[in-house]
């Protein structure tokens, strides 16, 4: 099958790839780049398990074709804890008990990270709204919201 060349920057590293035109960004991250932190769950944009940041905005990578990401800056969960240190938001998730089975967690952390980048002082309602695209069946919502509030609090005492 004919492939298409794309260039993108993933977690600060430039990548040149040949991708199938129907492959999603999630396919490429997981299968071609072995970045398996973003998860596959529904493939229809409902769960947020595949959330990554593309040019500063969160996207469901299962809905974005890889060719659409040509030239983009992509951040995945693997790009956050640089040098083996958890970020403050990851710390807060751990401390608040905001992780159970963990399958939704890379997407939750990416969404929380992007939320705080865009709005460093969110209200509780803004957090609930901002995180509504990430499902968690283990029911960690409350702890995740507490974790985000704690991160805000720690950054701006």
């Amino acid at each position: 099958m004919a492939t298409v060349p794309i260039d993108l920057t993933v977690n600060g590293r430039g990548r040149s790839l040949q991708v199938a035109p129907h492959h999603t960004l999630l396919d490429v991250l997981r299968d071609d780049l072995a970045l398996t932190g973003a998860k596959e769950c529904c493939l229809v944009g409902e769960c947020g398990a595949c959330t990554v940041i593309v040019d500063g905005r969160t996207v469901d990578s299962c809905l974005m074709l890889a060719v659409e990401a040509d030239g983009a800056l992509v951040t995945t969960i693997e790009g956050l804890a640089a040098g083996g240190r958890l970020t403050p938001i990851q710390e807060a998730f751990l401390d608040e008990g905001g992780v159970q089975c963990g399958f939704c967690i890379p997407g939750q952390v990416i969404s929380a990270h992007a939320l705080l980048e865009a709005n460093p002082h969110p209200t509780r309602a803004e957090i609930e709204e901002g995180m509504a695209g990430n499902l968690c069946r283990c029911g960690c919502y409350q702890q995740i919201i507490e974790a985000i509030l704690a991160t805000v609090e720690a950054a701006h005492p």
Binding site: M1, R30, A34, L35, T36, G37, K39, E40, C41, C42, L43, V44, E46, C47, A49, T76, I77, E78, L80, A81, G84, R85, L86, T87, P88, Q90, E91, A92, F93, L94, D95, E96, G97, V99, Q100, C101, G102, F103, C104, I105, P106, V109, I127, E128, E129, M131, A132, G133, N134, L135, C136, R137, C138, G139, C140, Y141, Q142, I144, A150, T151
Partner: protein, 751 residues
């Protein structure tokens, strides 16, 4: 003891990544989740993240009819079949049976198809594109048969039970108030965020290793051995990180592992079978739908004097775990209330729908929803507060259950009820909502309500189940001086990998970081029984503590010094010491499986919930605002993880009560995608306040009774009671959807 949440400052950034010491605990909150950093950084490896070079992809061809005769499977001769493998029932070396309670479910259908999405043919190919093409060239010829879709019309009964105590006729003769009710609950999908997933890898010894998302490695092990004719060693089951189970990965992974293993055997390569969401919802087990009928009699002095209960559960096409699900539903159907004259009759029947199975609560949420509806309706009929009525009726130490079990200890019905009611200010809010209701004008747009529920939940396996399981848990001091926990019990989010090292560190007097948790691999760990029924902390935790006590005694006897100071040297001198602890029946606990008399469970956990809702009177939509959940767990091992269990269970119960529904047409699930089967989001989640109560069970060395299922029993009846408080209507069928609420309000107005 309540566990409050002290507001902790988050620790400074710098928590180290996996395989390094567990970050230190904040006081009163328990150690941090051990595998948490790996999950937070995306390095935790779930099944689909595992790489096996040269692996093929497998697919399942399923029936598109609810019932049919299978006439032929044809492969289009125009297609080049040499590049793929195809497996049908004839390729199974051993019995074409998914090992479970009854031998009724085939691995692949042969002559009769009994439900929609039943597996018929398996195909594997080196890549997904070729796999899709090959699947499209398999033709399944069938002849339709008339399906049985209504459980009440089914005459095929997988299992039935009858419990009778006292004299029902005399009880009803004494009653001055008799309330009847019929309640219906539908399917509920577990909807773990990670779909079912399994990879089978051929072994050099002719066997197979499977790596998968699963709760019970030894269920899968037994299934592989039996149908592939393998020895204990040739069948190897390894749990990958598992993205939620809730019962949905209890028995289902057996058939998936068999499929993957058959394909791997056929092509001689690893085969990946990773379901997508659509296949997962369409084909895997759900919570059993049920119809529950009650007749309850109350004497003039307000005592509950008679309960006549009939339960019909829809098992779907095959038996799976229905006998145990129904058993638990039956044993809990009376609710946590003393009554001298009780009859409970139940049956699980076959229909031509996909088989149902385990889901958190395991039969109890279905019947306890009905039991609590009944109690709330009786309170209304008596003009009594639902809180006061429960205070009068609830079980106290010394009471006897319908099976004749005397509740000797660890009875906390009263405490959970009072604690929840007090924290939620139940009577004060109820008085306010009653006032609002009285003053509400015809153009009111929304209404607020509060509701209460109380439940009991048997801890561990039902009846003699634990005796039959004969679980083994081990602790080893290795020759190189490490301490290792060896159990088959799995982590799927509940915190197994954190609380077991914690229990062992406590019992041995060593730092938690010195305790390792062996991988859940049947080649390494013994069968400590399935990770189900909230039994892990209580039963397996108890075995591990006893093993530690023995290990400690052996080492201290030899060394003459405290274990913590001497165990490394002891290992140097004496080599490895491994203690295998075998389950011993809890003293004084006796159950007769044939008569259903005796101690149904060694102990019960107790739960209460108070829910507050807003109902939109125009649309019938319900917003659950808050839930106060009080749960007695025997002993709290880890407050933060325990709260997570309560909150997660409560949220699943809120979904069950309000939005989660499977619609069927001709035996097929219509809403078999995540866009159409809805679960609560962060916006739908109520504020949940958790109160952990400790009424320890003396049979477990640490007193713990388990926690995971308790909140699932009380959430739905509390929410439906709150909807009634807001609107005046009783919703007898779950979920209490906007359509049902509007229809009920319409009827009320017309009356």
């Amino acid at each position: 003891m309540p566990v409050g949440r002290t507001a902790p400052a988050p620790p400074a950034p710098g928590t180290v990544l996996p395989d390094t010491p567990t970050p230190g605990p904040a006081p009163g909150r328990g150690p941090l989740r051990r595998e948490g950093p790996a999950k937070l950084t995306g390095t935790a490896l779930y099944t689909d993240d595992l790489v096996f070079p040269g692996a093929w992809h497998g697919a399942t061809i399923r029936s598109t009819e609810a019932r049919a005769r299978l006439l032929a499977i044809e492969l289009d001769p125009a297609f080049d079949w040499s590049k793929v493998v195809v497996v049908t029932a004839g390729d199974i070396p051993g019995p074409n049976i998914v090992n479970s309670i009854q031998d009724d479910q085939p691995i692949l259908a042969t002559d009769e198809i009994r439900h929609h999405a039943e597996p018929i043919v398996l195909v594997a190919a080196p890549d997904r594109a070729l796999l899709r093409q090959a699947v499209g060239q398999v033709i399944v010829r069938t002849e339709p048969l008339a399906p049985v879709l209504d459980p009440l019309a089914s005459d095929r009964v997988f299992v039935h039970y009858e419990i009778e105590t006292g004299d029902l006729a005399a009880g009803f003769a004494e009653a001055t108030l008799v309330i009847e009710g019929e309640y219906r609950v539908g399917h509920q999908e577990q909807l773990y965020i990670e779909n079912n997933a399994m990879i089978a890898v051929p072994r050099a010894d002719g066997g197979v290793a499977v790596h998968g998302s699963l709760q019970c490695p030894y269920y899968v092990h037994n299934a592989l051995k039996r149908s592939l004719l393998l020895t204990d060693e040739q069948a190897q089951v390894v749990q990958a990180e598992t993205g939620g189970g809730f019962g949905g990965k209890e028995e289902y992974p057996s058939i998936l592992a068999l499929h993957a293993a058959l394909l791997a055997r056929a092509c001689g390569r690893p085969v990946r079978m990773i379901y997508d969401r659509h296949e997962d919802i369409a084909a895997t087990t759900k919570r059993h739908p049920a119809v529950v009928r009650y007749r309850s009699g109350v004497a003039a002095d307000g005592r509950l004097v008679a309960q006549d209960i009939e339960i019909v559960m829809d098992a779907g096409a095959y038996c799976t775990l229905s006998p145990v699900v129904l058993s638990r539903g039956t044993l809990h159907a009376g609710g946590p209330y003393a009554c001298p004259n009780v009859r409970i009759r139940s049956r699980a029947v076959a229909t031509n729908t996909p088989p149902n199975g385990a889901f958190r609560g395991f039969g109890a949420p279905q019947t306890e929803f009905a039991a609590e509806m009944q109690v709330n309706r009786i309170a209304e009929a008596l003009g009594e507060s639902p809180l006061d009525l429960r205070r009068r009726w609830l079980y106290r130490p010394g009471d006897t259950t319908p099976t004749g079990q005397v509740l000797r200890e660890s009875v906390a019905a009263e405490e959970v009820l009072e604690r929840a009611a007090e924290a939620a200010e139940f009577e004060r809010v109820r008085a306010r909502t009653a006032g609002d209701r009285a003053q509400r004008g015809p153009d009111a747009r929304s209404a607020h309500g509060i509701g209460l529920a109380l439940a009991w939940h048997g801890a561990g396996f039902t009846g003699s189940g634990e005796v039959h399981l004969a679980s083994v848990a081990s602790v080893e001091l290795t020759a190189d001086g490490r301490l290792v926990i060896l159990i088959g019990s799995t982590e799927m989010g509940q915190g197994t990998k954190t609380i077991f090292p914690q229990l062992v560190a406590d019992a041995l007097g060593v730092p938690m970081d010195d305790v390792e948790f062996a991988p859940q691999d049947t080649a390494l760990v013994p069968d400590s029984g399935p990770t189900v029924a909230s039994r892990t902390a209580m039963v397996v935790g108890g075995l591990v503590i006893e093993a530690c006590r023995r290990l400690r005694a052996v080492v201290e006897e030899r060394s003459g010094g405290p274990f913590a100071d001497t165990y490394r040297a002891d290992a140097g001198t004496h080599g490895a010491t491994r203690i295998d602890q075998h389950f011993r029946p809890y003293p004084g606990v006796d159950f007769d499986d044939t008569t259903y008399r005796g101690d149904a469970y060694p102990a019960f956990g107790w739960a209460s919930a108070v829910a507050e809702v807003d109902v939109d009177l125009d649309t019938g939509e319900v917003a659950v605002r808050s839930v106060v959940a009080a749960d007695d767990v025997g002993r709290v091992i880890h407050p933060v993880l325990a709260e997570g269990q309560v909150e997660g269970g409560t949220l699943q119960a809120v979904g069950y009560a309000t939005i989660e529904e499977i619609k069927l047409h001709d035996g097929r699930y219509l809403n078999d995608r995540l866009a159409t089967y809805l679960i609560p989001t962060a916006l739908d989640a109520p504020r949940i306040s958790t109160i952990l109560v400790e009424a320890p069970f003396s049979g477990a060395p640490h007193g713990a009774k388990g926690i995971g299922e308790l909140p699932m029993d009380v959430g739905a009846p509390a929410v439906v009671a709150a909807i009634h408080d807001a609107t005046g209507v009783w919703i007898h069928d779950l979920p209490a959807s906007p359509e049902r609420i509007l229809a009920a309000m319409d009827t009320l107005v017309r009356r």
